[in-house]
Amino acid sequence: MEGYLVAIGIVVLINVLLALGLTLQYGRTGLINFGHVGFFAIGAYTSALLALQGVPLVISFVAAGAFAAVSAWPVGMVSLRLRDDYFAIVTLGFSETVRIVISSEKWLTNGMQGIPGLPRLYEGIGGGLPAQLAVLVTLALVVIASATMIQRITNSPFGRVIEAIRDNEEAVTALGKNPASFKLRVLAVGAGLAGVAGAFYAHYITFIVPDQFGPIVTFYVWMAIIIGGVGRISGTLVGTAILMLFLEGSRFIRDLIPAIPEVEMASIRLGVIGIALILFVTYRPQGLMGDYTQR
């Protein structure tokens, strides 16, 4: 039971880390990033491939975040000057292209077979519950550090500019700032967080395949921040917790009613996510913890 709770805790915190990146990008800056999972995948594969070459995990985790952030650079360069909806489509296309590349380049990523047998964090402790707990604590520290960083960024002069970009981009341009350069940095930081989340994911699951990085992951994260409340750290936590409750809960329902095959459960999950997205966007766009004074 403790093992199960720790496992859930780890998965929740990995998703919180993903959601924090999106909170900075969409909640604070207004970037509609529909390709978050692409950066998550880049982080996971970067760390996995480095670790298999014998690179210490500390370095591979940092490299995962750095490489994901760097890969956001070209994406942002070509798309950040475009309108919001074009940016959304381009990022969605980017994440699909990442998935195609990791499925096709067998020499590097072993293609659809995926990469098994990745080392876990804290294998030195001897595995089992203590190692899992150590992973959980590390993740919690990373999440706290990231949340603090996002708050610090938002409360800085830089943060005032990005919030101004979200609320009125023309006004920011009129004040002589270049919104694209601010957005680019925000995109890179959010991508970096997603990359680190990917590294934690890869070394927790220990087996990665391209199918784990489909667009649905991006929209899970979107659903979490919309339910919780856009732009709020507390909303990120609450939304992710609710999302996990739903995803895990649907597994329990299947245990209770074994007549429902897994493929049907996947369809039901997809439908519930879709309808929840529609309902929240329509009736409660600020989410459960959202700012009650803004639209």
Binding site: I32, S79, L92, V263, E264, A266, I275, L277, V281, T282
Partner: protein, 287 residues
């Protein structure tokens, strides 16, 4: 000759992309948002046609059935979701359209399961023109598409509702004060969008297999063609779709089958960088 044959196959793929891009560009031009649920309307058309074909055995009735199913799905999506979100932020409409797509895909997954279906069409010996092989089915599909596109352009340009649609696309407020009922125009728009998507989905289903994900997997080429053709330009969407389809097929001997979709992404980026208004786009200023 090998490349000509590929180009011909690409042309038929391109019809699918062009029709789907047409559905996207109509919504973008008139209802003003990028509809990420378009792919799943294609799927709705394919399953609708498949079910009708099984029940009646007639391909013509199957086409009508598929069009009806997708048109109803599209109109329902408008009435239940998009109508309530008109005038809201880009994010709200985009995310809602993703939600609509998920809901449609889940519906298909639950109703038909995840196994692949094919249209049971009797095989016929292909015609050979100057060494190019073309099947009777392909010819029929091309003619049907040409007819569908001609009908759509006729509706847009020669009927009252079409003129009103173009007026709303041009300037919604001006259209409203000139006495155009925007609600009626929107109803017509979504029915048309459903019908066009259905034709694309049915062709795709007949040429490949029908699965709940078939439409979603096409979304990137559809958007690429809509942007390439110039957002809001129906003729541009069809032309760009055909060009993209041919380019995708011709690229497969060099980059492999899996990179077809990535090529669409590259085309989209290239167009956005070099000529963001696309081939014929004038209405939308992109940057």
């Amino acid at each position: 000759m090998f490349y000509l044959q590929l180009a011909l196959n690409g042309f038929i793929q391109g019809l699918v992309i062009g029709l789907g891009a047409l559905a996207i560009t109509l919504v973008f031009g008139i209802a003003r948002f990028a509809n990420a649920g378009t792919g799943d309307l294609l799927t709705a058309g394919a399953y609708g046609a498949l079910a009708t074909h099984k029940a009646t055995g007639s391909l013509v009735l199957a086409g009508i059935g598929g069009i009806a199913v997708a048109a109803v799905a599209s109109l329902l999506a408008y009435i239940l979701v998009f109508k309530r979100l008109m005038g809201r932020s880009v994010m709200a409409l985009l995310l809602a359209s993703i939600g609509v797509g998920f809901a449609i895909r889940a519906f298909h997954g639950l109703l038909y399961g995840h196994s692949q279906y094919v249209f049971q069409i009797p095989l016929s010996r292909p015609y050979v023109f100057f060494g190019l092989r073309i099947s009777a089915l392909d010819l029929a599909l091309m003619l049907t598409t040409a007819l569908a596109v001609a009908m759509l352009f006729a509706i847009l340009h020669f009927t009252a509702i079409g003129r009103q649609m173009r007026a709303v696309a041009d300037n919604r407020e001006l259209a409203r004060v000139s006495g155009i009922t925007v609600g009626r125009v929107m109803t017509a728009l979504w029915l048309l969008v459903g019908a066009v998507s259905a034709v694309a989905g049915i062709i795709l289903g007949m040429k490949t297999v029908v699965t709940p994900e078939m439409g979603w997997d096409m979304l990137l080429p559809l958007f690429a063609a809509a942007i390439f053709g110039g957002i809001g330009s129906p003729a541009g969407a069809v032309l760009a779709g055909i060009l993209l389809g041919i380019a995708q097929e011709l690229s497969t001997p060099f980059v492999g089958f899996t990179y077809k979709i990535a090529l669409a992404f590259a085309v989209m980026l290239f167009v956005l960088l070099i000529r963001p208004q696309g081939l014929f786009g004038t209405i939308e200023r992109v940057r």
